[in-house]
């Protein structure tokens, strides 16, 4: 295949073969597919974190009263978990789109093969898919922030910054998720993703401070992405912004780069080799 390539494509100019600057086309297809499939299912995703917030914030919160955040601030329990739920929903949305959905497209509907036979490069496809996941994540986030505002859980004006933070988190998970998914071959392997997600969801300072754990476990949790996401958003909604915010942002930037590079390479190896 490479031997007959026309000049100006392929090996000679790898950038062009990777990226045609047309991720928009992939996004447009995705939107169209969403619209024709089931809008109600997509919209319903908004309710899940709201249910959690009502249940735990109101019900469990009554048993708890206030909780100390990592910066020592005492906040009502609902205000403690709300930012965490926001981060979790950003993660879940991004992971769902970039793992299960993408896995299906990769292995069953062969959508990507079809896309890559056009002028689109693997990077267009990867970016397009990630943007699509982000769009969905942003939609949920805005809805959830409105609920938080109504319930008085946004404790500071900096809560506005939670929105871009959510996108950053979603971007990180979507790109890494897509990269990992491109290595998966069977549904059984996909189960392992959920298996890693569950403890991360429960242990990452989402529902209680990580200080209950011995130090080595705390380090482990702090090495995982969700903890950074939760702390980042919590800093925004409680207004306790410190230098740590930069560390969290940095973590996600690295994650995004790693994810995008991984995905692009992998798509190229899979379909353009």
């Amino acid at each position: 295949m490479t031997a007959t390539q026309a000049p100006g494509t392929g090996i000679r100019r790898p950038a062009r073969a990777l990226y045609a600057g047309n991720a928009r086309a992939v996004v447009a297809r995705g939107l169209l597919a969403t619209r024709s499939s089931n809008l109600l299912v997509v919209v319903s995703g908004f309710f899940e974190p709201v249910f959690y917030l009502l249940s735990l914030g109101i019900g469990f919160g009554a048993l708890v009263g206030t909780v100390a955040t990592s910066t020592g601030q005492e906040v009502p329990y609902a205000a403690y978990i709300a930012p965490a739920l926001l981060a979790v929903s950003a993660m879940n949305g991004a992971i769902y789109d970039s793992t299960w959905n993408a896995f299906f497209k990769l292995n069953y509907s062969k959508l990507y093969q079809g896309m890559l036979t056009t002028s689109l490069g693997p990077l267009d496809v990867a970016l397009g898919e990630i943007l699509l996941a982000l769009l969905r994540g942003a939609m949920y986030a805005v809805g959830f922030m409105v609920v938080m505002q109504v319930l008085g859980l946004n404790l500071s004006w900096t809560a506005l910054l939670a929105l871009p933070a959510v996108l950053l988190i979603a971007f990180g998970f979507a790109s890494l998720g897509l990269g990992i998914t491109s290595f998966m071959k069977t549904f059984q392997q996909m189960d392992w993703i959920s298996f890693v997600m569950l403890p991360m969801f429960l242990f990452s300072a989402t529902f209680y401070p990580i200080t209950v754990y011995p130090e080595p476990i705390q380090w482990l949790i702090q090495a995982l992405p969700l903890w950074h996401g939760v702390e980042l958003i919590r800093a925004m909604t409680t207004g306790a912004i410190s230098g740590m915010v930069l560390v969290h942002i940095g973590y996600y930037l690295v994650m995004i780069v790693v994810g995008v590079v991984l995905t692009t390479r992998r798509l190229r190896a899979l379909f353009l080799a």
Binding site: N38, F60, L63, F195, L202
Partner: protein, 289 residues
């Protein structure tokens, strides 16, 4: 199932009034065993199919209780040092987590597998072409689910013991209670899923607006009374609440009026019976096109 006596009801009304043909006799003999044991054959088949995901089922059945009890019984419990009622938060939450695990497995087994058996991989039609009837197929599936529930719940319970979450010896009764809770939910979901003709995302909606709220508002993580009255009705109709409360009674002697305990038992029993019948009629109807 109609009673079958080849020498009386069936034979004379059939075509020729004379003696049964050799073929007919062979058929009546061939139908005898399946009429009695058909449901067990189906259960055997389903359990064999479950081996396909045995590995991930085992890992989840051991991993989930570890993760949940560690997170809720230790982590979340740190926020409730005073405990709930007269017991620690761990002891309070464990029976509810057990019932929740059963409900999760039951929902897993009765959503897509039920729909798939009619639609994407229509094995139920294949089974029905054999002597096995629709009622037997549905019963066999529910037997197989019960087996999986028992295994999952027993492992969960063992982990609970490991965490010291079960003060009373009667706590072992939490196992049948949880299985019953799973079956109550599974029957209803199965009856719904097996009626779906076109997949328009009804199942994710059911999970989102049925199963998840049930799990969150059934007094699992906190006593139902903590919720505002306008949310408490969810618990009253939720099999998970009845199952969790019953589990608490046997596990740590949760003090509730005896009549309420009786209500839990009766409610779960009624749901199971109704659910199983609904699944059976759904199967019979759908198979007889």
């Amino acid at each position: 199932m109609t009673a079958l006596d080849p020498t009386s009801s069936g034979a004379p009304s059939d075509l020729s009034a004379g003696a049964l043909s050799e073929d007919a006799r062979r058929a009546l003999a061939g139908g005898a065993a399946p009429r009695r044991f058909g449901a067990w054959y189906v259960a055997e088949h389903r359990i064999r199919a479950m081996r396909g995901y045995l590995q991930s089922a085992i890992v989840t059945s051991i991993g989930n209780p570890l993760v949940y009890l560690f997170a809720l019984g230790i982590g979340l419990a740190s926020l409730v040092p005073q405990g709930v009622g007269e017991v620690s938060y761990l002891v309070f939450v464990a029976p509810a987590l057990l019932a929740t695990a059963a409900v999760t497995v039951a929902a897993d087994e009765t959503t897509y597998p039920m729909l798939a058996g009619f639609k994407w991989n229509p094995v139920f039609f294949g089974m029905n072409a054999s002597p096995v009837t629709g009622t037997q197929i549905s019963a066999g599936i529910m037997i197989a689910i019960t087996v999986r529930l028992l295994a999952t719940v027993a492992i969960y319970f063992a982990v609970m013991l490991l965490f010291g979450a079960v003060p009373l010896a009667t706590g072992v009764l939490a196992i049948p209670v949880a299985v019953a809770t799973g079956l109550a939910v599974g029957g209803l979901i199965g009856a719904y899923a097996s009626r779906i003709e076109d997949d328009r995302g009804q199942l994710p909606m059911l999970m989102r607006f049925g199963v998840t709220p049930m799990f969150l508002f059934s007094g699992t993580f906190f006593p139902l009374e903590t919720l505002p009255p306008w949310l408490q009705w969810i618990g009253w109709i939720s099999p998970l609440w009845h199952g969790s409360e019953l589990g608490r009674v046997v596990s740590y002697g949760y003090d509730e009026p005896a009549w309420l305990t009786a209500v839990h038992v009766v409610y779960l029993a009624v749901l199971i019976v109704v659910g199983l019948r609904l699944v059976a009629t759904a199967f019979t109807r759908r198979l007889n096109k």
